[in-house]
């Protein structure tokens, strides 16, 4: 039983990382007042770009950069539509998701089943041998280790840095930015595109580090989970980190049980992350909405024509 717990928790960390990156990216974007349902698309784009670049160049780190670039580029489409053209944020995000789904299907077909030199797990000497803690935290791929730092970094960026102040002001009271001579649009562009880059990094972790494979629509809803995660983490990067492990655990539960021969219908377990999200949102209730950046709440509550 204890090995089951270790398996699930280790899977939570490794499998939750992709969701965490996407959630952190979405946090930056939403803090600036833009909700991006295209996270799913940015993740897919990042996953394929990372895989293809790794296959072509032979270096997974080139792949990581390519993944971030692809995620950022797709988010830029959303940014242009929403910031410059004032399109509806939900419709625009889904459109970008479809666009990315199509692009990755067209250009990804050649990479299905192709072998790559991936980012292998690397057991931290010493720490990795600690019982329980070692396998859960210190026997992962490099991008997972990186995420341990990126979460706090995003928190620091948003709450302790000048850039973060601008981002949060764009989301709370954009007129203040205007008064002080900043361009709200510029801040939002940067936030959405940087957020997309993190989503792309999440996709890269999924394809070249976690599953070492590319297949069509391989993110299967992780991007949407990230969007929900940001809400129930009340737009706080550190809670996003914790929440992503919760989802990772839910995703890891089903294979871990099946590997032990429990005859559980996989699909009932697959629904758990989504049910859990709704339940958590329901329990937190209005508190989450009160914590929302003001301008984001406007997106949620009024009809953007």
């Amino acid at each position: 039983m204890s090995s089951l717990a270790v398996d699930v928790l280790a899977g939570a960390v490794g499998g939750g990382t992709a969701i965490m990156y996407a959630g952190l990216g979405e946090t930056i974007s939403e803090r600036a007042g833009v909700i991006n349902l295209g996270t799913e698309g940015s993740m897919l784009g990042g996953a394929l770009a990372a895989y293809a670049a790794t296959a072509t160049s032979g270096s997974p780190w080139v792949g990581v950069l390519a993944g971030m670039g692809a995620g950022a580029a797709l988010a830029a489409v959303h940014a242009v539509l929403v910031v410059a053209r004032k399109a509806n944020q939900f419709a625009s995000g889904l459109t970008v998701m479809f666009f990315a789904l199509g692009l990755t299907s067209l250009f990804g077909a050649a990479y299905v089943g192709r072998q790559i030199h991936a980012l292998d797990p690397w057991k931290v000497p010493g720490l990795g041998s600690i019982p329980w803690v070692g396998p859960i935290l210190f026997d992962h791929d490099p991008l997972t280790y990186l995420s341990f730092a990126v979460g706090p970094l995003v928190w620091w960026l948003l709450y302790k840095s000048r850039v973060g102040l601008l981002i949060r002001t764009a989301g709370e009271h954009s007129e203040v930015l205007l008064v002080h001579g900043y361009s709200t649009n510029l801040v939002r562009y940067v936030s959405v595109i940087a957020g997309g880059g993190l989503c792309g990094l999440g996709g890269a972790q999924l394809s070249i580090a976690y599953s070492n494979a590319w297949f069509e629509n391989m993110t299967v809803g992780r991007g949407f989970i990230a969007v929900a995660l940001v809400i129930f983490a009340t737009w706080n990067p550190l809670r996003v980190m914790a929440g992503s492990y919760l989802f990772g655990a839910a995703l890891a539960l089903s294979p871990a049980l099946q590997a032990r021969g429990y005859g559980i219908n996989q699909f009932a377990l697959d629904a758990i992350p989504f049910v859990v999200t709704i339940l958590v949102l329901a329990v937190l209730g209005r508190r989450t909405l009160l914590a929302a950046p003001d301008e984001l709440r406007r997106v949620f509550e009024t009809r953007a024509a």
Binding site: A84, A91, G102, S105, N265
Partner: protein, 409 residues
């Protein structure tokens, strides 16, 4: 329940009283924009718009002299947007190494020049149209229903449940009616749940419907992998086939089933409901200004719930017609993103119940073209999502005059 919702609404309304007032007038103009009188309504706003900084950004906002030139300009924008989308798609095909000319020629030939393909467009348009109406009705009240996919799945599951358990025991007509009722109830319940979550605990419906799509899909998979699995089936698990008597009849000698007619009837009903009934008017009031609606004493909670439920019922019916008209078995991938495509169709049509027919047919045609693409050119069928995405990007970004200068900061 209405007691419980009042604080929530007051909370939302109290935060930003000023933008709400401005928003109301915008929305009135916008609501009118759905009809043919758009330009007439917008004319008084033009001098204001011309003076704002936003107007200089967008050269396409001239004073509108007559309805005809306004229409011409609108048409020009659409043509330009579509041409741009196709141009980018062409470039992508070139990058991929395909010959765009022959790809387009092949797709055109196999999609639009033979009867079975054209019939396929109408077959696919039926659930798309119903799914799009499921977005249109809640949108009238300002709700964003991204859950068409899940509601379609739930409708198909409900119809499948009836079909499997009663399909060969009762008369075909009775089974059909039961399937219609069950699917609409299931879709309404699934969407209604999202509305209840919004009204009681404040979960945004766009987020909850999105998540519930995956729950519905997992439920479908769960059912077809164990309890409802056809014991005689081979290969991919499916349910047993629907009894012949309960299958939706075809229209004449075509392969188009009667579901398309259902969808057209539903469109007409929605159009009448939204345009000529008090209910439709009240939904529009809420969509324009929920605060004003509540102060006027409208039962906002009930109206929002009913808008979502009606939408869900329509999507559920979409699932039923696809199951009983085409698939006859529940299987993995039965919906193939119909709900999401329908969402985009509704936005393409700007939530106008009449334009939605055209949008659904257009997107159905693109979907069928995707199958042709796969067969003729060996490109993945999902590649057409690129074209769909590009068309939507063009339409969302570049076909409306930007009237929201007040909000643009």
């Amino acid at each position: 329940m209405s007691d419980a919702t009042i604080p929530a609404q007051a909370e939302g309304g109290a935060v930003i009283p000023k933008p709400r007032a401005a928003h109301g007038t915008q929305d009135a103009a916008d609501a009118a924009g759905g009809g043919t009188v758009a330009t007439a309504t917008l004319v008084p706003e033009v001098p204001v718009a011309a003076g704002t900084p936003g107007a200089s950004v967008d050269p396409g906002v001239p004073p509108t002299e007559s309805r005809l030139t306004g229409f011409g300009r609108g048409l020009a924008r659409w043509v330009a947007a579509l041409a741009g989308a196709i141009a980018i798609f062409t470039v992508l095909l070139l990058v991929k190494g395909a010959n765009p000319a022959s790809v387009y020629a092949d797709v055109w030939t196999s999609t639009f020049t033979n009867q079975p393909s054209i019939e396929q467009i109408f077959v696919k348009a039926a659930p798309l149209l119903l799914g799009a109406l499921a977005v249109v009705v809640p949108a009238r009240a300002g709700l964003v229903n991204v859950g068409g996919e899940g509601q379609i799945v739930m409708g198909a599951v409900a119809a499948g449940g009836i079909g499997i358990s009663l399909g060969d025991r009762l008369g075909g007509g009775l089974v059909m009616i039961l399937m219609i009722v069950a699917s609409m109830a299931a879709g309404a319940a699934w969407a209604g749940l999202a509305a209840v979550l919004r009204l009681t605990v404040g979960i945004n419906e766009a987020v909850s419907t999105l998540l519930m799509n995956y729950i519905a899909l997992d439920l479908l998979l769960y059912l077809i992998y164990s309890p409802w699995k056809d014991p005689h089936g081979t290969g991919q698990p499916t349910t047993a086939e629907l009894a012949d008597t309960a299958k939706l009849p075809y229209l004449g000698t075509t392969a188009v089933h009667v579901g398309f007619v259902f969808a057209l009837i539903a469109t007409a009903v929605v159009w009448v409901l939204l345009r000529y009934t008090t209910w439709g008017f009240r939904l529009r009031v809420i969509g324009g200004n929920p605060e004003a609606a509540r102060r006027a004493g409208l039962p906002v909670a009930l109206l929002l719930l009913s808008a979502m439920a009606v939408g869900g019922a329509l999507a559920g019916l979409g699932g039923m017609v696809h199951y009983a008209g085409v698939e006859y078995k529940l299987r993995t991938g039965i919906t193939t993103n119909f709900g999401y495509i329908a969402f985009l169709a509704s936005w393409l049509a700007r939530h106008n119940p009449v334009s939605v027919v055209v949008a659904a047919l257009a997107l159905a045609a693109i979907t069928v073209a995707g199958d042709s693409l796969q067969i003729d050119s060996g490109l993945p069928a999902a590649s057409v999502n690129i074209l769909m995405g590009l068309v939507l990007i063009a339409v969302l970004g570049w076909t409306t005059r930007r009237k929201s200068e007040g909000k643009a900061r």
